[in-house]
């Protein structure tokens, strides 16, 4: 069976090669056909791989290494991509899938351009497939087949983490198609409004899942690792944050290209860099050059191949950029105080923030070259990344209504004073109620300011309140995303500075007070699951009339010989009462259990904020489609323009 998958993957490689050939020669129809065939073949290959996990076919080496018959079905399936080889297969599938999606959805009327984009995407798929088949082959047999597998890392046996990698890959690999579109546009020398309009949905198609993937990973770390934290500035997290930041920058700059034809060179550079940073991230975390808490299969050979891929694809695209960018045309002139100016400032901040994350992540490597060993961690990023991003967020509500070309911001004293007073009252309330430090008050004020700004922009655009729902989906998308950022900031600040943690040792029947909750240990019993056994504590928490039962566990997975912490969380409405079971101790003949108990105020706002950003992205993509429907008319087949023509803007309705 798996040999069929192996064969299909090889055929998919062949199809991608042919797709590249036709694409580069400008034959869109053939390139599209090959993209569809490759998708069919790779789906078959990946489907068969999943099937061997589902049926626990231990004659497949990968299944033996990562699965076990006692594992629940969902995690057998997730096990297919919960390892290096399988995840690379998924990577290839997504890469081919984006080519097929491009073949299906891309309708710019410039067939030459579309063919080239498909060809380049085909070339990226070829690279991924070669890497898959020759450096990390998941289709290999094991002879003789063992009777039982080694099991999946129990940390990964979790619904959040089962779908976290596919989401991330949709993001990372999605940027590969944006990259392909950028390279094709550069070859044609036309990065104009049409290009931006065609590319923007694909940027969103990558950025939205990437946001969700990061949020899922963060949420998983929060409830599974048992330390109450949700972001650790680990290299693996930074590796996903950098393309996300560049994607966010790109989403802002591509609007200028789409609406005004401006920022062409910068937008296309961001499109190339977003993908380069995706590969760079893969290289940093899978080659072992950086130390991370995340246990990836580390292999220097794979590392050098990834680095070679980065240099080949990134180098080619950036060389193309160096050659073609000077011929790209800018948009119409604009003044510093204008929508363009504001978006330029936005991009400067996003870019510097990305470089800051990169610097902090690779600085230990640079220092090693001079013989020093050092660490760069949370304190560094909190003191550099956070204030730099705050700069962006303070400005957002002020500039979001600015006009294109030239803006004439008016000062509304009355409004300013009333908004300021409103936010001030809420902040004081927060400081007083939650006993936050004053610095946190500034953060909360910033968050409220963003929330106000998001609502204000909707109202301003709608002019009258009832029309608010008639606004284009795009405007809603933008405002939802900005609202999400505001909620995220409030959640992050309040959780970080207002959280309460305590490590306690309890005997059965004993109580302890944590953040106003009286927590009592009822008992600790053994529990058993399909592939684990556990100590499960029963805690009751009371505060006034409210009460909750919490059942934190300490699990042991015999197949993987590994313990895990299963936290128990009670949502109080304002925050999480979070408990993790620690170790057992015998003191004077009595059994005591240690617990870590946290109170994390407003933590859900963090994840909800990111979810709103992703939802905003979905709306923004939908809005783009609506406009396209009115625009698209059957276009006659035509030759590509003899030479790139400067983009012209459409004047607003006269």
């Amino acid at each position: 069976m798996i040999e069929v998958g192996h064969m299909a993957a090889f055929l998919a490689l062949a199809a991608c090669l042919v797709q590249t050939w036709y694409g580069v020669r400008g034959n869109r129809a053939m390139a599209a056909g090959m993209a569809y065939s490759a998708l069919g073949l790779m789906s078959l290959a990946f489907g068969l791989l999943i099937w061997s996990f589902v049926t626990s076919d231990f004659s497949v080496a990968l299944v033996t290494a990562n699965s076990h018959t006692f594992k629940p079905l969902a995690y057998k399936i997730a096990g297919a991509w919960g390892n290096h080889e399988g995840s690379m297969a998924l990577w290839c599938l997504v890469s081919i899938g984006f080519a097929a999606a491009g073949a299906w959805r891309l309708r710019t009327g410039r067939r030459e351009f579309e063919a080239k984009a498909l060809g380049i995407q085909g070339g990226i798929s070829v690279g991924s497939l070669v890497y898959l088949l020759f450096a990390s082959n998941p289709f290999l047999r094991l002879d003789p087949a063992p009777l039982q597998g080694n099991g999946l890392n129990p940390l990964l046996q979790d619904p959040g983490l089962a779908i976290h990698p596919p989401m991330l890959y949709l993001g990372y690999v999605g940027f590969s198609f944006v990259f392909a579109l950028a390279a094709a546009g550069l070859i044609e020398g036309r990065i104009d409004r049409d290009w931006a309009k065609a590319t923007r949905p694909f940027v969103l198609a990558a950025w939205v899942p990437l946001s969700l993937g990061i949020a899922l990973g963060s949420y998983w770390a929060y409830y599974e690792l048992g330390w109450g934290g949700w972001w650790f500035w680990d290299p693996v997290e930074n590796a996903s944050l950098m393309p996300w930041l560049l994607g966010a920058a790109l989403l802002h700059s591509i609007v200028v290209t789409e609406k005004r034809g401006g920022f062409a060179a910068w937008t296309v550079l961001l499109a190339v860099l977003a993908f380069c940073f995706s590969i760079l991230g893969a290289f940093l975390v899978r080659s072992g050059v950086l130390t991370s808490v995340h246990a990836f299969a580390i292999d220097p050979l794979r590392g050098s191949l990834l680095l070679a891929g980065l240099m080949a694809y990134g180098g080619a695209a950036l060389a193309l950029f160096a050659w073609r960018a000077p011929v790209l045309k800018g948009g119409p002139d604009w003044q510093f105080v204008s929508r363009e100016g504001a978006l330029m400032a936005n991009n400067l901040v996003f870019f510097v923030a990305t470089i800051t994350v990169l610097l902090g992540t690779i600085f230990p490597l640079l220092a090693e070259a001079t013989g020093r060993q050092m660490s760069v961690g949370m304190p560094y990023f909190n003191l550099t990344f956070a204030p730099i991003m705050a700069l962006l967020l303070v400005g957002l509500p002020l500039v979001q209504g600015w006009s294109w070309g030239a803006a004439t911001p008016k000062l509304h004293w009355m409004r300013g004073v009333s908004v300021g007073a409103g936010i001030g009252v809420l902040v004081l309330l927060a400081l007083w109620r939650m006993k936050l430090p004053l610095g946190a008050g500034v953060g909360v004020a910033l968050g409220l300011w963003l929330v106000y700004g998001a609502g204000r922009e909707l109202v301003r655009r709608a002019v009258t309140l009832p029309r608010i729902f008639a606004l284009p989906a795009r405007v809603w998308g933008m405002s939802l995303a900005h609202l999400g950022i505001g909620l995220f900031v409030i959640g992050a600040v309040v959780q970080t500075s207002g959280r309460y943690e305590q490590t306690v040792a309890l005997q059965a029947g004993q109580s302890v007070e944590v953040a106003g909750w009286a927590v009592t240990l009822e008992d600790v019993r053994s529990a058993e699951g399909p592939n684990w056994y556990a100590d499960r504590a029963t805690l009751t928490a009371r505060k006034g009339s409210a009460s909750a039962r919490l059942l934190p566990e300490k699990r042991y997975y015999p197949a993987a010989r590994m313990p895990t912490t299963e936290t128990a969380i009670h949502k109080t409405g304002f925050g999480d009462l979070y408990t993790a079971l620690g170790d057992r101790r015998e003191v004077d003949g009595k059994t005591i259990w240690t617990f870590r108990i946290y109170y994390n105020p407003l933590i859900d706002l963090i994840f909800f904020g990111v979810f709103l950003m992703a939802l905003g992205g979905v709306f923004a993509a939908a809005g783009g489609r609506k406009a396209r429907v009115t625009a698209s008319q059957p276009e006659p087949e035509r030759k590509p323009d003899p030479e790139p023509s400067g983009p012209k803007i459409l004047e607003p309705a006269e």
């Binding site: 409004r193 049409d194 309009k197 330390w227 680990d234 789409e258 609406k259 130390t291 808490v293 002139d333 003044q335 204008s338 330029m344 400067l348 901040v349 870019f351 510097v352 470089i355 610097l359 902090g360 600085f363 640079l366 001079t370 020093r372 060993q373 050092m374 660490s375 760069v376 961690g377 949370m378 304190p379 560094y380 003191l383 550099t384 730099i388 979001q400 209504g401 600015w402 006009s403 294109w404 070309g405 284009p472 795009r474 405007v475 490590t503 313990p563 170790d583 101790r585 005591i592 406009a627 009115t630 625009a631 698209s632 276009e635 323009d641 023509s645 983009p647 012209k648 459409l650 607003p652």
Partner: protein
């Protein structure tokens, strides 16, 4: 090997030494330090978030030193003396590398803003001070954007 020890010896000998300091202000200081000190037997974790027993020892040492009235700098220095600056998640601000690491983000932002302003001024001058029309941000929303326009441009 270290990782092996970290994982498997964990349950064997876990002394319960995470007793918070009585004074909440001192405890808060100790907590802040624990977030900045790296567990030496684990992969990239601060001692505040590590289950390794040596991380527990290090937490206890931080609390002892805070209680004994040592300054934050002295405590960081104590660990750095024994484990190198590797053990500190907050890198030094001094020296060439400190300047590069801490200065580049803010310097980059400043330089970027200055550079863009200069480029913008040049470009603006070159094009002449023509009055620029203000176009409301929603002017293009829902309008067919450009295909027809560029088609016309292309002479179709």
């Amino acid at each position: 090997m270290k990782r092996f020890l970290c994982l498997f010896l964990l349950p064997l000998l876990m002394a319960f030494n995470d007793v918070p300091l009585a004074d909440p202000a001192l405890e808060a200081r100790a907590r802040a330090l624990m977030d900045e000190i790296r567990c030496v037997a684990c992969e990239n974790e601060p001692i505040s978030q590590s289950g390794a027993e040596i991380a527990g020892d290090m937490r206890q040492r931080v609390r002892l030193m805070v209680e004994a009235g040592e300054s934050d700098a002295a405590i960081r220095g104590w660990f750095a003396d024994r484990y190198g600056e590797f053990v500190l998640f907050r890198p030094q601000t001094t020296g060439a590398s400190g300047l590069l690491l801490w200065g580049l983000p803010f310097g980059g932002l400043l330089m970027g803003a200055l550079g863009l302003a200069l480029v913008f001024r040049q470009r603006h001058k070159r094009r002449g001070g023509v009055e620029i029309a203000a176009i409301p941000p929603d002017a293009f929303d829902g309008l067919p954007v450009s295909n027809q326009v560029s088609d016309e441009q292309a002479g179709n």
